[in-house]
Symmetry: D2
Subunit: 187 residues, 4 copies
């Protein structure tokens, strides 16, 4: 856990920053034996850190450049329990049953459909953790969990500033803020 950003092979695909990965995975409470799905896996950074703990990770990603990065990163970090699903979610999720944890880093405009599909496959006590960078995704997420009372949720906004060392000075450089919503299936 807490792999530094620069250790991942990145290309031009946006990557969840280290502190957000740390908080997302901690909120997700991934445990040994778990089945995890990572939707909008991007560079695979979250998938790889989850795969170091869980039994099986399904990384769902529609972008071909990103899929290559996931493969390269999985190899680099010696992780062999990630199955990459080249699809636009919720497509590609049909075959997966009994999900312990779903992490959603990107939803491509299909969030509600994705949540419905996960909902039918999520174990009792299972968790959904969603990273939102737009107000619309945040709003849709909150509305979903307000309307599905089998979920208890919490939501936080995280803003990280990194202090860059410039000569004798430490100068704050802001990372973009992100909302992390964690829902537990109590059904």
């Amino acid at each position: 856990m807490a792999i530094p950003d620069e250790e991942f092979i990145r290309g031009n695909v946006p990557m969840t920053k280290q502190e957000i990965r740390i908080l997302t995975l901690a909120k997700a409470q991934v445990k040994p034996g778990d089945v995890v799905i990572d939707i909008g896996a991007g560079t695979g950074s979250l998938s790889i850190e989850a795969a170091m703990i869980a039994r099986q990770v399904f990384a769902v990603e529609r972008n071909n450049e990103a899929i290559e990065l996931i493969e390269q990163n999985a190899e680099k970090f010696g992780v062999d329990n990630i199955i990459i699903i080249n699809a636009e979610a919720p497509n590609g999720l049909e075959g997966i049953s009994k999900i312990d944890t779903a992490i959603i880093g990107g939803s491509g405009g299909n969030l509600t459909k994705i949540l419905d599909t996960i909902d039918r496959r999520l174990k009792s006590g299972g968790r959904i953790v969603i990273n939102c960078i737009t107000i619309q995704t945040l709003s849709e997420t909150l509305e979903y969990f307000k309307n599905h009372d089998n979920y208890k949720y919490e939501a936080i906004q995280v803003q990280i500033n990194r202090l860059n060392q410039v000569g004798q000075y430490d100068m704050a450089k802001a990372l973009n803020p992100i909302y992390i919503i964690t829902a537990i299936n109590e059904r």
Copy 2:
């Protein structure tokens, strides 16, 4: 007040962002009739907004590219009460007495000397407002005012996120945070 950032001529000189200008000038309480000094004037954005209210603004700046921008911006906004002092502060401040407000946007490593020089010229009830982007400048500023008990000060950190409109989405883009310290001379 509240001139949008893109209306200033900028070049490669860093510019105080609109929201920070607004808060800095409001904390500075610039009034008609005032004499204002703006140290580390950069593009002149703070000088120009101050000059729209005050009687006289002295813009102190050591960088030649910046000085040209101040001149161009002063002309663009039709402001003729800014005197540009091409010097590295505290140099260039000797001739100015009876300062109502000092704004410090950049101190080039000379902060304590600059504050000492201002202190001898600041009217009773006058204000010093300092924008700090490094922890070291912030720390030096706080220490100065703790050790000079003719000043009462307050300090805030300001973090602004702008929502960029990307298609149907609004996506947060962080500006770097800044500390604003406001000291009032009660001597």
Copy 3:
């Protein structure tokens, strides 16, 4: 402008904090001669600072305790161009035509109706500035302006931390973040 928070008479009514007032009023671009409406006026802090610049301010407020505070604060600050409308907006706005600026600090669940009512009364080039403390109000605001293309809008999130002076230390105390949306009527 920039009246310190503690100078307002407050009671138990929540008050917009100084830095948020400063930014709201700057974004609102209130000018001499303007007609301003302040919806959800609360303690009247925004109304009073607007009234120091504008020709006429209408403060709309449904809560009786708040209305007394507006009256007391108006008297304290010697402001006599505020008309208090004791109503739940959009009620009470019928008689006001030709609004230059509308400030919305609280909408009591009626935001879209309030915006529709303002829209029919807002001058060309007039501004609406909305302070949102909930995701739902923010989301409704953004959706409104996306669907009404006579408006150009910008939105920011503002987070202020105040450094409290505790002995020799300066300790950050967070204020709750707020979104400020500014829309200009270009019709």
Copy 4:
């Protein structure tokens, strides 16, 4: 990891919030077999989460009420590898050699002495993680690591807003920001 705040027994002792604990422990990279010291242990929340991973945790705390809470929490969470040292650090650290990780949540004005004491006991590759809530402690920390070039450090500021569920609304409640500095001993 990621124990919710409300599960700890708290009393009136300030407690590091969940998200800060998560980030602090991830930055600390605590591993099985490690010896960890937690200075200014407070309620023991960091000690307990560290003890679930490490071989041995020494919790240093000068406050008697806090010490009782550490004992109660250790019992509640079934953790038996915490040794509580009732002392004002750096006192109490003399007997501990070969530290893998030092976490400093509170330094009671003795930060430099504490860091010197840890420095003599920290293994090569060992980590120091410091949580700072005042500018003075932050500044002293940065200066220490700038002046001791056996350390490579990084520093972040973390600001968390929690969305409180109030009826149909989600309303942001700010937690106070905190700086987390992580230094690695490369000697």
